[in-house]
């Protein structure tokens, strides 16, 4: 019941959530994923034929018509 937010009379009050080791691991994962996204985006800007920050995601090279900046 506690999972549904209901409290039984006489039951203990809800405990406050605290950061634990998983919170640190997730932080580290978020930092690494951000660094990886930045590096991939930076290299994708070199290979994409389009212009703009979203070009590494939206613009692809066409076969036989390779265009580099």
């Amino acid at each position: 019941m506690s999972q549904l937010g209901m409290h039984m009379p006489g039951a203990m009050g809800p405990r406050k959530a605290t950061m634990n080791v998983y919170t640190g691991l997730l932080f580290l994962a978020v930092v690494c994923l951000g660094a990886a996204c930045f590096v991939v985006w930076q290299n994708g800007m070199k290979l994409t034929p389009g212009e703009g920050a979203a070009a590494p995601l939206t613009e692809l090279q066409q076969p036989g018509r390779i265009k580099l900046k």
Binding site: A17, T18, M19, N20, Y22, T23, L26, F27, A29, V30, L33, G34, A36, C37, V40, W41, N43, G44, L47, T48, P56, L57, L60, Q61, Q62, P63, G64, I66, L68
Partner: protein, 283 residues
């Protein structure tokens, strides 16, 4: 779960999705670029092969062209030499032409001078011809006159000699008549048929033989008088027939009683015959 943990979970999910999309796009681009690079490499290799073949062909063509260029250059040098020769010949011919023109002008002037000289000489020759004709006609008249006078002199000489002979014969007849009738005469007859008159002796003879000298072709005559009758070589005797002058006899050889001489009829159409009278007056 703490709220920050939840936020991190959300960010991690979003970043994972974004990283996946970026990775897919990057991989696709890289693959296509690699494929394009390989294709370009193949094209470059083909182009290099074609270029090397073209280079080899170009090298051969270049060699041929170089050889042709060398040949052309040699021909060009030969043509240049020929051109120089032609130019020299042309200059020489032009000089010769100018010289020939000058000579032509000189020759033309000389021809004009010679033409004038020829015309002058022609007039002179014409006048000389006329003068020569006149002189020739005059000379012919003189010669004819001389011949006539010579003939006349010869006729008169013959007549004179005939008259002298006649006179001598009459003198002899007179002397004979005087001797017959006893009258003596101081004149004395000398030689055979000869007479004496004032130191002159007339000699009479007859032509005994006529023949032609085979060597000289002259007509020779023999007479019956010789050195006994005072006939000498080189003496000129008169030939007459019945009182007419026939010709002259120039004595060539003389014996005691005969003599031989060449007959000169003075270019007249007369003939000398045996028996014709030959007379001369000797001193």
């Amino acid at each position: 779960m703490h709220i920050i943990t939840k936020i991190f979970v959300v960010f991690a999910a979003i970043l994972a999705v974004l990283l996946a999309a970026l990775s897919v796009a990057y991989s696709t681009n890289a693959d296509r670029i690699v494929a394009g690079y390989k294709e370009i490499e193949a094209r470059a290799a083909a182009a290099n092969a074609t270029a090397s073949e073209a280079n080899s062909k170009a090298a051969s063509v270049s060699t041929d062209l170089q050889s042709r260029l060398d040949e052309m250059e040699s021909q060009l040098r030969e043509r240049d030499d020929d051109l120089a020769d032609f130019e020299r010949d042309n200059q020489r011919l032009l000089a010769d032409a100018k010289q020939a023109e000058a000579q032509q002008a000189s020759v033309m002037s000389k021809i004009d001078q010679l033409g004038a000289t020829v015309s002058t000489q022609a007039s002179i020759i014409k006048s000389l011809e006329e003068e020569v004709k006149e002189r020739r006609a005059e000379g012919l008249r003189f010669i004819q006159r001389e011949i006539e006078l010579t003939d006349r002199i010869s006729d008169l000489s013959g007549q004179l000699e005939v008259a002298i002979e006649t006179n001598r014969a009459l003198q002899e007849q007179l002397q004979e008549l005087r001797d017959t009738y006893g009258n003596s005469s101081p004149s004395v007859a000398g030689g055979s048929g000869g007479g004496q008159n004032d130191g002159n002796t007339a000699v009479r003879a007859r032509i005994t033989e006529i023949r032609r000298d085979p060597g000289s072709g002259r007509l020779l005559a023999a007479i019956d008088a010789g050195s006994n009758d005072r006939i000498r070589e080189g003496m000129e005797l008169t030939i007459s027939r019945r009182g007419s002058f026939v010709g002259k006899l120039v004595v060539n050889s003389v014996s005691l009683n005969t003599a031989v001489g060449s007959v000169d009829t003075l270019n007249r159409d007369v003939s000398v015959e045996p028996g014709d009278l030959v007379t001369v007056v000797t001193r």
